[in-house]
């Protein structure tokens, strides 16, 4: 791994952690999904490192809980979905995808409960989380629609500048 890659991973992880903590007081309104989408589009597979640095720091800050198990796969799922559509640049496309991801967040998070309490517990978790998932869906949709383009341009510009400096 090159020094530049390590710097990118460090900065982007720190940025994601900062926005997560900064917006933690708003339930299910978050910028993490959009930043992971953007990182995946710009930095491709390096995003895996960004995600897991973010997850490790989150566990160090908040301690280990069931949510930590969710975090081990939930952001990677988003990254893998983004990799499939990484050439798309329409804010509407990413708003819809990010919204759909927000809507399915509770379902994705219910996987550990499947092993703890079986299908009834997982289903009850999904159902009780529906209002939060809907808020997450709307929040993700609006955030991606408004911020995808400016943040993508900014990230691309920084990436380009970094490449120019090295070469």
């Amino acid at each position: 791994m090159r020094t530049k890659d390590m710097v990118i991973i460090g900065i982007m992880s720190a940025l994601i952690i900062t926005v997560q903590i900064g917006l933690a007081f708003l339930p299910n309104i978050e910028l993490v999904s959009l930043l992971i989408i953007l990182c995946t589009i710009v930095y491709r597979w390096k995003t895996l490192f960004i995600i897991y640095v973010f997850v490790i720091v989150e566990v160090l800050i908040y301690g280990f809980g069931i949510w930590s198990i969710n975090y081990l796969y939930i952001w990677t799922v988003l990254m893998l979905i983004t990799m499939l559509f990484r050439n798309k640049r329409s804010p509407f496309f990413w708003a819809i995808l990010s919204g759909a991801y927000g809507l399915s967040f509770g379902t994705l998070c219910s996987v550990p409960y499947l092993f703890i309490g079986g299908i009834p517990m997982a289903v009850s978790k999904i159902i009780s989380g529906i209002p939060f998932d809907v808020v997450h869906c709307i929040g993700n949709y609006v955030i991606a629609l408004v911020l995808f383009k400016p943040l993508y341009r900014f990230l691309e510009w920084i990436n380009q500048k970094g490449n120019d400096l090295i070469s």
């Binding site: 301690g63 819809i96 009834p120 517990m121 009780s128 529906i130 209002p131 869906c137």
Partner: protein, 137 residues
């Protein structure tokens, strides 16, 4: 033509997404919440609230709730806060645990300590739970 198709797909995608979201919300409020409040409930559980040096209070809850927390919330028996370990009970039947005295609420089922938090305990008909105010961590 291509632009029109793109616009149509965008509008369609957005419509589908929000339709699903609002359908889920509708089902949640009108089929789950209303069904829960409309019917009396299929499970009957007994809750004992034990505070040292005070009379033991007993509450019978008839509910359709899945978890103990949902059942207790229905009767507004508990208060507390979300923590990374799940819901933490800080108040039962109006009696708050005093942190300065290292008080905390302990959940037991038929006298046995529970491995799970209140929001992860699946209740069954005829279950008996005790909520005991403990002192000392």
């Amino acid at each position: 033509m291509k632009e029109r198709k793109k616009l149509l797909m965008t509008v369609l995608g957005t419509l589908i997404l929000f339709s699903v979201a609002f359908l889920l919300l509708y089902l949640f409020y009108f089929k789950v919440l209303k069904a829960d409040t409309a019917s009396e409930g299929s499970k009957e559980i007994l809750i004992q609230v034990i505070v040292p040096d005070e009379e033991v209070l007993e509450f019978t809850i008839i509910t359709n709730a899945e978890t103990l927390r949902e059942a207790l919330d229905e009767k507004k028996l508990i208060g507390g806060e979300e923590s990374i370990y799940g819901f933490l009970i800080t108040e039962v039947n109006g009696r708050k645990a005093d942190n300065s005295k290292q008080e905390w609420w302990c959940i037991t089922k038929d006298g046995e300590f529970s491995d799970y938090g209140v929001d992860m305990l699946i209740i069954q008909d005829k279950d008996k739970y005790e909520l005991t105010l403990m002192e000392g961590y």
